[in-house]
Symmetry: C2
Subunit: 249 residues, 2 copies
């Protein structure tokens, strides 16, 4: 499994990805799911991947090959980010269609985000079918992989005016909740912060399993969450009491 | 969809269920998913249901009919709770096998919990296949339906020595997170608190959509969670900085 999230706020985009892949619980490996494409000063794009590892590797390899070979369409010559998302969707669908059978699931999902000079930053979630969605003011984030455990905190904290630091911290807390509930999501955690109009991808960070900060964050969130819980109003039992009779259905 | 949880602690068992069912988002109804069977002073059992509504209604109806008709096996004559769980599994499998085709999913899951005099309280999750699992000291809860959004808070707060009040409050917070993230889970919320060795099911509560307490709890948890988040240690960027070179994969 995998958990990747992209948070698109006014100040830019924060990308976060775990690095664990597994084919069964007895075959766990570490692979980066964050891939960076760009030309400094002109365009920067980040691709996050989830799903069948053979498919995602095939897609990323094709993206690189198309750039190298100067194919008709590639990530560095698409006029708009939506065109880049269309192109990535086409590559993904083509790659998935190469393999069938064996009871395996060959599907893959991607997040593509970044900025092309003269345009606004943007992020897209590309479904296995090749179509895509983007973020909104109410939902300034996109998730792929094991997305449910970590969604409630994103829902509550994030808005378009969140800083990139808040976005990154919220994404790490979301990742921490997911790691705690699903064994197949795990460190190293990769973080890339793209600042609007910077056209560089140099704010890249990697938190290893041994990261003192990740552990401190996890402990701290545990303590804070328990404090938050203990401060809740006690249940108003009497107001919600039902006569015994009413439960006899 | 549905979200039901049973929390089994030393002091007893707390059962919580939402009441929303849907066949598509344009066909949403309210049905109770909590069913109480028992003989005061002798045995009490609570059944929570999730899955295909025709299946769950068929199963509950069969459970009642078997009691009324004095069938060979019914919930009120099983010697142990595990026997009751086996019986419920058999009824569920038989009910599911009656209908096939049409592209529908006829599966259903159940939680059965309670106590028979002379034995300890216990709770079981009964899978669509009829087999079942129970709780443990490390995982003192069982969930059916849309379980992921609400799991992180249960993982962090609950232990065997939690009070029944803490268990109920934690279950309501877990329910609140689920309702916020999944439209097909919603109030009224039913809560039943079974106190060990009480052999009665009279602590039954129902929180309507208009419940002032539910709204206050939701607002309060929102505020407390944001406070908890704002108290986290800022990200130690420098310690996790990777040279630009190392990201060129």
């Amino acid at each position: 499994m995998t958990y990747c999230v992209a948070i698109s706020v006014d100040a830019g985009i924060c990308f976060i990805a775990d690095s664990r892949t597994n084919a069964g619980v007895d075959n766990v490996s570490t692979y980066s799911k964050m891939h960076i494409f760009g030309v400094d000063g002109e365009r920067q794009m980040v691709v996050l991947s989830a799903g069948n590892l053979a498919t995602t590797q095939g897609v990323i390899s094709q993206l690189k090959k198309d750039i190298k070979m100067g194919a008709g369409r590639h990530l560095l010559n698409m006029p708009h980010l939506t065109d880049a998302a269309d192109y990535l969707g086409d590559v993904s669908v083509a790659q998935q269609s190469k393999h069938t059978g064996g009871g395996a699931n060959y599907e893959a999902s991607f997040i593509l985000g970044g900025q092309i000079v003269g345009q606004n930053p943007n992020a897209y979630l590309i479904y296995p079918q090749g179509n895509h969605i983007t973020t909104s003011a109410d939902t300034p984030f996109l998730q792929i992989g094991e997305s449910k455990y970590g969604k409630p905190i994103l829902d509550r904290i994030l808005s378009l005016d969140s800083t990139l630091e808040t976005a990154a911290l919220c994404g790490l807390v979301s990742m921490d909740s997911t790691i705690r509930s699903n064994l197949t999501v795990g460190p190293p955690i990769e973080v890339l912060i793209y600042e609007r109009d910077s056209f560089t991808a140099d704010r890249y960070y990697r938190f290893e399993e041994s990261s003192e900060y990740l552990r401190a964050l996890s402990r701290s969130w545990d303590v804070k969450l328990k404090e938050a819980f203990s401060g809740l109003p006690p249940i108003a039992w009497s107001a919600n009491w039902d006569e015994v009779g009413s439960r006899q259905r």
